[in-house]
């Protein structure tokens, strides 16, 4: 049996139009419909030098809806989808387990704690920047604690790392739950926290784009640079070392990369479950596990996936928005269960 894979050029030939189409569709659909001509007009008006295009047909309202509301939201969805997918792929390679994700080393719960503190301390009311920044700091601090706990004498066994991650995650979850229950009398904060935990991209602005885009881009580039090390780490640490990888250094860099990606994404979007799990897995099935092609492909597929999920979140039940995390879980959960069943079959348990 030959390797059954989709050729990379064909993969992109389908994926890139899907990405472009979902982007334009997501900008066009909503409480006010916007035609694709208007979208292109606004884009041309904003991106091209003045006078190049005739913008007389565009109203002020068109510009606001397209440029200040829909475009940033779609861009945040794209970056968050890309970042979570690439971060998931890195963790799965590092842990040699297709079911691993960034949350495993504490990044998710750390980000949650940081945000809950930002809500309760009232920082979020003062500046939109405070929430993402608090979430990123929380993610990185959780990571440092997990890493320090799991490291003895410069060596960080992956199994210990995983256990430390589970322990710290439950502890941090308990802390933010405690903070939340103490402050539950303030229903407004409680509601905000609850919404944030379910993930969502409502009212995202260009500020949010600039907050996540640099870290996500940096993280994805860093991951791609480490692609071959990741291939080897996936063969086991001893083997990676035998082929010249500085295992402990590489592990630190990879975990840092995954955590920056997760922190930046959770910071602007809240908890969006399953993206980091389902997207890399699906892409791996299509183009194979080699990380050089996998990481960029995952990022682009993740971007398209989350744009579509967010589109579903705000159009399924208008005028109320369904939370984004709910949609990704509803889509991702069954896929995850199917993967789990397949894995059981592979190891002969069912």
């Amino acid at each position: 049996m030959d390797k059954r894979r989709v050729r990379l050029d064909l993969f992109y030939l389908v994926l890139l139009p899907v990405l472009a189409l979902s982007g334009v569709t997501a900008i066009g659909i909503g409480s006010t419909e916007v035609s694709w001509r208007t979208i292109l007009g606004v884009a041309a008006q904003k991106l091209l030098p003045g006078g190049w295009v005739d913008t007389s047909g565009l109203t002020q309202a068109d510009t606001v809806v397209v440029w200040l509301i829909r475009v940033p939201r779609v861009l945040v969805a794209a970056f968050v989808g890309a970042g979570l997918s690439a971060g998931g792929a890195v963790m799965q390679g590092l842990f040699r387990n297709p079911l691993a994700e960034s949350g495993l080393v504490g990044a998710g719960s750390g980000a949650a704690l940081g945000s809950v503190i930002a809500f309760i301390a009232g920082w979020t009311a003062k500046s939109v920047v405070s929430l993402p920044v608090a979430a990123m700091i929380g993610a990185l601090m959780a990571l440092v604690i997990v890493y320090a706990m799991a490291t003895r004498g410069g060596v960080t066994p992956v199994a210990t790392l995983l256990l430390a991650g589970v322990a710290v995650t439950s502890l941090l979850t308990a802390v933010w739950s405690l903070l939340l229950s103490i402050n539950i009398v303030n229903w407004q904060i409680a509601q905000e926290v609850l919404f944030w935990i379910m993930g969502g991209l409502d009212a995202r602005s260009w500020t949010h784009v600039w907050l996540c885009a640099p870290f996500v881009t940096l993280g994805i580039v860093a991951a791609i640079v480490q692609a071959r090390e990741l291939d080897l780490m996936q063969q086991g640490e001893e083997t990676a070392a035998a082929f010249g990888v500085d295992v402990e250094r590489s592990k630190r860099m990879l975990i840092l990369t995954a955590s920056v990606l997760t922190g930046a994404c959770v910071g602007v979007a809240g908890m969006v479950a399953f993206v980091g799990l389902v997207v890399p897995h699906a892409v791996r099935l299509l183009i194979g596990p080699s990380h050089r092609p996998l990481l960029p492909a995952c990022s682009i597929a993740g971007a398209a996936f989350l744009i579509l999920c967010d589109l579903a979140a705000r159009t399924i039940h208008p005028p109320t928005e369904v939370r984004l995390g709910v949609i990704t879980s509803l889509v991702g959960g069954p896929i995850f269960i199917a993967l789990l069943m397949r894995r059981y079959r592979e190891v002969g348990l069912a």
Partner: protein
């Protein structure tokens, strides 16, 4: 001619002495069998020789240069190590697996060059897995996979090839294929060290034998010098008879002590 020298190596892990005062040397064209029961320190010795575990005392040198002074990459270019970990969880193609062997030679941003391609093709050929190059590694049999993993190490074009129990999970025919391959590599000038507890199979192919017990080398030299019935009995705890096979080679027959078959 390359030489890998370990002198008075001692290693302890978790408070347990794993290697004590081990001295051994491996040079081009040699096929060294490292024989010993489970837990005698064979794998640990290979890890130290590959520079993956540092020695607490004693030194390992590669053509006279202490490997402690060399970078991981520099060591990996010369010493290839096939570990016991043959698990491959992701569906890599055989060719992709073997291409990983070029890692120590490639810069972070350099793509595959003509020399890399040649080394990969040669390694695939030597291990007789060229025809499997597009197969996914998780669809291979145990013997095929082991040959692919050896090909990955050969793609390094190393002076030294260290193998940790590569035949442990293989049936007789596949085990003999691996041994034949190692023999021909050594005949071609490579240095091969092969850890195993299979006295009969391995010692027939090896040019020299080191017998290990509880972290020490108790005897080293030619097969007949080292694997005496007495030494085998002392190390493995079994009574041993040496029989002559039809081709004149000696075979070992083991009995549990005081329990003749």
């Amino acid at each position: 001619m390359s030489v890998l020298d370990a002198t008075s190596i001692s290693v302890s892990r978790g408070g347990r002495q794993i290697l004590s005062d081990v001295t051994i040397s491996l040079s081009s064209g040699e096929f060294l069998a490292i024989i010993g029961p489970n837990g005698s320190g064979k794998s640990s010795l290979l890890r130290v020789l590959a520079g993956i575990w540092p020695a607490e005392s004693g030194s390992v040198s590669l053509d006279g240069t202490p490997i402690g002074d060399m970078s991981r990459r520099d060591i990996a270019r010369q010493v290839a190590f096939v570990t016991q970990d043959t698990r491959v969880d992701f569906a890599f193609a055989v060719e992709e697996i073997v291409a990983m062997g070029r890692h120590p030679h490639r810069g972070r941003f350099t793509s595959e060059r003509e020399t890399d391609r040649r080394a990969i093709n040669l390694a695939l050929e030597r291990c007789d897995v060229s025809s499997l190059r597009h197969r996914l590694v998780n669809t291979l049999s145990g013997g095929e996979r082991q040959r692919v993993l050896i090909a990955r190490s050969l793609a390094v074009e190393p002076a030294f090839l260290l193998l940790d129990e590569p035949t442990a999970n293989l049936d007789i025919q596949h085990a003999l294929e691996i041994l034949d391959l190692c023999r021909s590599l050594a005949d071609g000038g490579q240095a091969v060290a092969f850890a195993s507890h299979d006295i009969n199979a391995v010692s027939r192919y090896a040019s020299s034998v080191a017998l290990m017990e509880s972290g020490r080398i108790v005897a080293a030299g030619t097969r007949n010098q080292v694997l005496t019935p007495r030494a085998v009995r002392d190390v493995f705890g079994v009574a041993t008879e040496v029989l002559a096979a039809s081709n004149g080679q000696s075979l070992y027959l083991f009995h549990r002590r005081n329990n003749q078959i």
